[in-house]
Amino acid sequence: MKFSWKIFLTTILIVCCTFSIGGMILMSSWLQQFLEREIQFAESQNMMLNGALRTASRLLPPEDYRDIHAVAERVLSSVLDKSREQVPVQVADEEERSLYQTPAFAGYESAFQDVSEQQSGYVILSEDGGYRIHFISHWKLGSGVYTLETVRDITGVFETRDAQYRLFIRLTVGMTCITGVLVLLLSKWLTKPIRSLSRAARKMAKGDYGVRALGKGQDEVGMLAEDFNRMAEALEHKMDQLKEALRRQEEFSGSFAHEVKTPLTSIMGYADMLRSRELPQEIRLQAADTIFRESRRLEALSFKLLDLMVLKNRELAMESVGAKTFLEEISSFIRPSLEQRGIGLSADIEDAGICIDVVLFRTLILNLLENAGQAFGESGTDDPGGKPAGGERFIRLVGRYHQERYRITVSDNGKGMRPEELARITEAFYRVDKARARTSGGAGLGLAICSLIVEAHRGTLSFESEAGRGTDVTVSIGGGKDEE
């Protein structure tokens, strides 16, 4: 059963019960009060008549005691005066023989037997839907006991009660209906955020992670909606990450397949030629040479890939070294080969102790310097993009200690990159200039490896580049100036 229906039915039940019980108590107490008043009234009337009859009958001489009828006639007519006709009164002797009756009494059953002979008292009788109080009192006269019975019709009281009862039932039904409608609306309103939440959860189960539950406010449901939305956000974020990871993975496999298939095509093709035909010496040499070079390319690719895989699982062998010695050694190592290509290298390094895996970091810096060198194009080629603005090809290696971090920047004044290229350069197999990278034997994995190394050192790798102006690559790692 739905929550709103539960609220609705429970409330209706409670309202019905409370109304009924309360109404019953109220009405029976009313009835009680009215009855008591009527009884008092009947009693006082009876007592008054009794007193009058007693006094009058005592004035009679004893021999006339039998003639009570006349006495009663006289007394009652004088006391009741004109209303005598309407008041039902009966006077009887001890054998319950009626001595006197007013006309209004005719038709009524006497009720002597229900009241004790010694005392006065009353009995309420009902007959044909009518109710009346028979009040009975006695008085002594000589040796006899006489009975006075007065009757008071109280049908009106009960009729009023019945009318009220009917009214009350109507009222209860009406109130229940109104309450019902209100409660139904209220419960729908209260459960609306819950239903929206449930719809949202169902949608999410179907894979729509962008859905959010409506509902605000400080109550429990509002808080639940907020919690749900927070959860949905976290989930969506996670799903996006997974999708992104999957996309990268697919792209990696795709690129990998391409990188492997290209040299394989040449190797297979030339080998097939060699085995199927007698070829002229020149072509045979060309085929063999291509097979050799393409195999080398495959080999280089497999080594780089191995590096990449090892890096992902490798424990770092961290040691503390001086930045100046470390970086200057690398720059003096690579300087000759850069100068051969007409590229100058300057090193401006502030000394500080840095904690690094020396082997990996050396690979990192060498890779960055190599990349910077490739920003000028091949040596000896007339590539207009490779000519720097200042006319001279130059790479700067700068090390700076700043706010407990050591920053190494490799800047070149080569051809730079466009923003859309910059965004993808750390992806495996991405190459800004495909054709040139192939001839220089690059696998397109250099920066992917670099970014993994930096990540392993809990550092950051950032790029700044402008087409035609050059590129700055900055590595920032935690370090200390402990050696000063």
Partner: protein, 219 residues
């Protein structure tokens, strides 16, 4: 028969050389382009019967190039490393005649080139060599003007020899191309069929056995 002109477009020089070399040895005239721009220049300048096109190209990629070529009524075979089915479908939807994934075998490349040229009526349907005449449309083989009865396998083997004269055909190659499926080392099937074919068309000397390899049609 006129020589067919073929343009090979690939950014990998080694592959271009390989393809050009083999096509030239099979009697086609070839040109090549290493990037999209160069390809468009060459297509505009010369009349080509077929373009072999890589998809990942510098400057203008193969897909864009395809959109340009398709209005020129030049058949195109895609030559690419993208081997997923959806890439194939996308390539064929672009209007390419065929789709060949790298790495490919030379013999397959030649077969596909020929099929496409034949389909586009760029070359004739009849092979003539010595006294044998094979008509691909009529599916008939004639020796000195007289019909020779060949089974479908024998016919396919003969066609393979005629398409690759002077080339050593490995048993596995023959098996794969004629029977389909991969070769499981059962060389007797191929040998039996080749021997029967030789006898039927009287080419006992022309179809030479190559020791440990297979057969070659000597020219």
């Amino acid at each position: 028969m006129d020589m067919n002109h073929i343009l090979v477009v690939d950014d990998e020089k080694a592959i271009v050389d390989l393809v050009v070399l083999n096509l030239e040895m099979s009697g086609y005239e070839c040109d090549f382009a290493l990037d999209g721009e160069d390809a468009i220049r060459k297509i505009d300048a010369g009349a080509y019967d077929l373009v072999l096109l890589d998809i990942m190209l510098p400057k203008i990629d193969g897909v864009e190039l395809m959109n340009y070529i398709r209005f020129l009524d030049i058949p195109v075979i895609f030559l690419t490393a993208k081997s997923a089915v959806k890439d194939r479908v996308a390539g064929l939807k672009l209007g390419a005649q065929d789709y060949l994934t790298k790495p490919f075998e030379i013999i397959e490349l030649l077969a596909r080139v020929e099929t496409v040229l034949r389909r586009c009526r760029k070359i004739g349907q009849i092979y003539r060599m010595f006294d044998i005449e094979l008509d691909m449309t009529a599916h008939t083989v004639k020796k000195a003007g007289k019909c020779v009865d060949l089974t479908i396998k024998e016919y396919s083997i003969l066609l393979l020899f005629l398409q690759n004269p002077g080339t050593a055909l490995y048993r596995e190659t023959i098996y794969e191309r004629v029977w389909g499926g991969s070769y499981l080392g059962d060389s007797r099937t191929v040998d039996l069929h080749v021997q029967r074919l030789r006898k039927k068309i009287g080419w006992e000397e022309r179809i030479a056995a190559v020791y440990k390899v297979g057969y070659r049609l000597d020219v």
